[in-house]
């Protein structure tokens, strides 16, 4: 079993479009297990009331979703199994589609529940894991990630490009072996749990690093806010350390709190000969899909579909980023397919 996550930087950034194109790619020759961490595939958006892309699954695909939604799908499901996980819309079952059809996905919301549901995926399947809003935390279970972003996140293509580069940089952090769960303090190794996401936690990290022992490797577990980390870096006496390595749990832990763009400062402030930032595990970022669509409020609670010019929006972003980007609707699914082929290899 290998998992591809489709995560967005915001609602309406094209996750569903990317999911649908990915399902089509795998439909012919690959056993698929499809689920999501939110609610997707409905005809009209629950917040804007605007039409949404529908999710069609082919015959043979295994889908995990709330049972009432599987039962009301026009894709018929067999071999229904209770995953034992309950979501806000009922118990989540997995079932195999005996006929193609539209389905609404309402899957496990937490990483723990997601792991339970993925236990129902066959070993030889590709799992397509649909995201929700800008949620990314459960994507730590994914082997690879496709990021969806676009005008719904920001109409400013330059800001989008900066965010993509920051995410790309974070997702590309080197992976080092972790210390395990035992007490690893001592011998130049220190461990700090509870994350770095509150004011004062950076100071605590600096205090510990500047104190006796002069640890060479620090394992920080939990969520990390770039601003708090920057505060720590300002206080750490790097000259007192030789080859200091700070190891975080997972790149996704660096994407959950604070302003993503502050990581640019972290990386620019990193004297490579003295400080290495690494992670214990990672997820490969396959590519980024760009969506020019954004709902615009036109009166209290009413929304209309609007678009930025797709060609220039994509062109600007593509020209400013290192990782491959595509607009599936504008360019077709070719680039996405190449990423998925790479994933299969």
């Amino acid at each position: 079993m290998r998992v591809i996550g489709i995560a967005g930087t915001a609602k309406n950034t094209g996750k569903t479009t990317t999911l649908v194109a990915s399902i089509k790619f795998f439909a012919e020759n690959q056993k698929m297990f499809i689920t999501g961490i939110g609610y997707d595939g409905e005809d009209f958006d629950n917040l804007t009331g605007l039409p949404k892309p529908r999710v069609f699954v082919p015959e043979g695909a295994i889908v995990a979703s709330a049972l009432p939604l599987l039962e009301s799908s026009d894709a018929k499901f067999t071999d229904l199994s209770d995953t034992g996980v309950r979501c806000a819309l009922g118990r989540i079952f997995s079932g195999t589609a005996t006929a193609p059809g539209q389905v609404v996905l309402a899957g496990p919301a937490s990483t723990r529940d997601l792991s339970s549901v993925l236990a129902f995926a066959p070993d030889d399947s590709v799992v397509l894991l649909d995201g929700a809003f800008s949620r990314i935390s459960p994507m730590v279970v994914a082997d690879s990630l496709i990021l969806a972003t676009g005008a719904a996140r920001s109409r400013d293509s330059h800001r989008i490009a900066r965010e993509i580069n920051a995410i790309d940089r974070i997702m590309g952090l080197p992976v080092v072996d972790g210390p395990g769960t035992g007490d690893v303090s001592g011998n130049g190794v220190s461990k700090m749990s509870g994350g770095l996401f509150l004011p004062g936690q950076g100071h605590e990290l600096a205090w510990r690093l500047n104190g006796a022992g002069k640890a060479q490797t620090v394992y920080v577990t939990g969520i990390v806010n770039p601003q708090v980390f920057l505060e720590a870096l300002e206080e750490i006496n790097l000259n007192g350390h030789r080859d200091l390595t700070i190891v975080f749990d997972h790149p996704i832990m660096l994407l959950l709190s604070g302003d993503l763009l502050r990581w640019e400062e972290v990386f620019s402030a990193n004297p490579e000969e003295r400080l290495t930032v690494a992670v214990r595990a990672s997820t490969e970022l396959l590519g980024v899909t760009i969506n020019p669509y954004t709902p615009t409020e036109s009166g209290a609670g009413k929304y209309v579909a609007t678009y930025v010019p797709p060609e220039s929006f994509l062109g600007d972003i593509d020209g400013l980023t290192r990782i491959a980007c595509t607009d599936i609707m504008f360019e077709g699914p070719g680039k996405l397919h190449s990423w998925l082929e790479k994933f299969l290899d």
Binding site: L47, F197, G222, S257
Partner: protein, 613 residues
């Protein structure tokens, strides 16, 4: 931290976090209930960042984290971020995440990644039940499942002996006169009963009877019986469409009843339907029931009242008014949720007796008959409708169908005193035949109200006076309508809903047994009545009842003066009619409403009454 005690409940650790300072009232209510039941509850201050909430919650190791925040497009991303933070911090290894607030509902909670979501209609008990692991879903309300008997407990005795004597005298005269006459409408009702009893068992006889029936029809209805040509603007209902209606009943138990509407459970609020399409009607009925309607009224198209004869089979009609046929009624009945009162009105046209027959055969609970309104305000010849109306009341009594006696001729300009006199005469005729009529005064800003100034300062006094005068005359159920609020509503749905709701609340506060309300777009609908507009007035009525509660509505002393004038007026009219000694003549001569009032004796069916052989 205070704690209560509650036997048999596993204490849970609950963190409550308001995500903005003005949305923590719900959480405070939840805290109180949870503490009373012995749970350990921490209500965090409202000025914490999401990261701070996560850190504090982490330190407490809770079983539940409940946040409150009014939802918007932008806020939804913040809530999603909070969910991610909780997840990454490991809180969800143990804790369930719950979101509450305006616009929150389960699908949005699911999309955001919460384990549950409670909207503004959710009672505190639902949150408590969730914490205690109960499957009971208290987020939805209940619906009374037994039908109310709207006439139960009423004796129909006159409390005003003078008016009672006059009404009885006039009513007996009109019954005696009508019993000596007949019409094609009376004959068709008889034929319809025979046809339906022979339809399956004796096709030959049925065919003969049907030919007899066709010979008594007119216009496009006759053409349909003779040639099969569809009546204008109609088409047959397909089997697929019929299936939609039947499926509604199958899913009746899954209808979500908003708890905020529970206050309507013990009130008999009726809504009218009649979109022309039975499928649409069935959906509108279900929607109305889900929002607290306890009864529905079938409206037929106006052409059906002017043609002799009713169609057979199931039809959709592209204009307002749903075609009256036994098949259409049975289809609609097939989708009706048990416990809902169903009225098929038969009050105004050339098919009045037969409509009562169809109402009976299709299982209706109520019908609607009024000779005076039908004659003076709805276009049917008075002589004809007197004959047909008396027969209709006889059939209604025979089939145990109560009926309201409506007074919508007030809308033409007929003063309430005259309309009420006519209503009381007809109701008395019904009682004399063993029937159970309900009085239906108009609750409206009627032309009379405007001209006399009765409604100049408020809409309370005139309507309360109507209720009081009727209650003082006879011990009979009163069902204001139909619908309430006529000529007070505008194109504005908010204004319209308020007016409807206040009239409904006034009626129920004044002792009405039932009330009929319109949708918020009904008074000025340029097209079909919309589903949201139906919900508007049902919600508004529930809100108005909640607002007034036991507080009641007080009229000014002016109500007493109007009541006195009404009683004097009713008495004066009844004396004139009694003196005339001929009810039908009184109708023609304007004793119960004349041309100056705006009432015109109808001409449909004129000259069709014959003496019985």
């Amino acid at each position: 931290m205070e704690q209560g005690r509650s036997k048999g409940i596993t204490p849970r650790k609950v963190v409550l976090a308001p995500l903005d300072p003005v949305h923590d009232v719900g959480l405070k209510l939840i805290r109180r209930k949870l503490l009373e039941r012995g749970h350990e509850v921490t209500l965090l201050p409202p000025d914490l960042s999401m990261e701070e909430i996560v850190a504090r919650a982490k330190a407490m190791d809770p079983d539940f984290i409940m946040i409150s925040r009014a939802l918007s497009y932008g806020i939804s991303e913040l809530l999603a971020k909070f969910v991610d933070l909780c997840d990454a911090a490991g809180l969800r290894e143990k804790a369930k995440l719950v979101a509450g607030g305006l616009s929150m509902k389960p699908v949005i909670a699911q999309e955001l990644g919460f384990d549950a979501g409670f909207g503004p209609d959710t009672p505190v008990e639902a949150a408590v039940a969730y914490v205690e692991g109960q499957e009971l879903d208290l987020s939805t309300g209940s619906r009374r499942r037994e039908k109310a008997d709207l006439t139960a407990g009423f004796t129909y005795k006159f409390l005003d002996s003078e008016i009672g004597y006059l009404c009885t005298t006039i009513a007996q005269q009109l019954i005696d006169w009508a019993n000596k006459h007949t019409s094609s409408g009376v004959e068709r009702a008889r034929l319809r009963i025979e046809m339906e009893s022979e339809r399956d068992s004796n096709p030959g006889l049925y065919s003969t009877l049907r030919n007899d029936y066709a010979s008594l029809t007119s216009g496009e209805v006759k053409e349909w019986y003779l040639t099969g040509k569809h009546v204008s603007h109609t088409r047959p209902i397909t089997e697929k469409e019929a299936g939609y209606i039947r499926s509604l009943l199958k899913n009746a138990d899954s209808i979500v009843i908003p708890r905020s509407q529970d206050i309507l459970n013990d009130r008999n609020v009726f809504v009218q339907y009649g979109t022309g399409c039975p499928v649409m009607d069935a959906y509108h009925i279900n929607l109305s029931v889900a929002w607290g309607a306890r009864g529905v009224v079938h409206f037929d198209p106006s052409w059906g009242a002017r043609n002799e004869g009713l169609l057979e089979q199931a039809w959709s009609h592209e204009h307002d008014g749903t075609v009256l046929t036994l098949d259409n009624l049975r289809l609609i009945k097939g989708g009706l949720i048990p416990g809902i009162l169903w009225q098929v009105r038969a009050h105004r046209g050339l098919n009045t007796p037969e409509t009562v027959v169809l109402a009976h055969l299709s299982g209706a609970d109520l019908t609607k008959i009024n000779i005076v309104y039908g004659s003076l305000g709805a276009g049917t010849d008075p002589e004809r409708l007197t004959v047909d109306g008396v027969e209709a009341m006889r059939l209604a009594a025979q089939h145990n169908l109560p009926y309201d006696v409506v007074t919508n001729e007030e809308l033409c300009g007929v003063p309430a005193a005259k309309a009420f006199a006519g209503m009381l005469i007809v109701a008395t005729a019904g009682v004399l035949q063993g029937g159970r009529p309900l009085l239906q005064p108009l609750f409206a800003n009627s032309p009379e109200g405007m001209v006399t100034g009765y409604t100049e300062h408020n809409f309370i006094d005139f309507n309360v006076a109507k209720m009081r005068v009727l209650s003082s005359i006879i011990d009979a159920p009163i069902w204001p309508g139909a619908p309430v609020g006529f000529l007070t509503q505008t194109q504005d749905r908010c204004q319209s809903s308020v007016m409807t709701a206040l009239h409904a609340a006034l009626a129920l506060d004044s002792g009405a047994t039932a009330v009929t309300i319109a949708s918020s777009d009904e008074a000025y609908a340029g097209g079909p009545i919309t589903a949201p507009a139906r919900v508007d007035t049902l919600k508004a009525t529930a809100a108005a009842l909640r607002f007034f509660g036991e507080g009641g509505i007080s009229p000014t002393p002016e109500a007493e003066r109007i009541e006195t004038e009404l009683r004097e007026g009713i008495l004066e009219v009844l004396k004139k009619v009694a003196a005339r000694g001929d009810f039908v003549a009184s109708l023609y001569e304007g004793h119960l409403g004349d041309k100056e009032d705006g009432a015109y004796p109808g001409r449909s069916g004129k000259g069709t009454v014959t003496l019985k052989h």
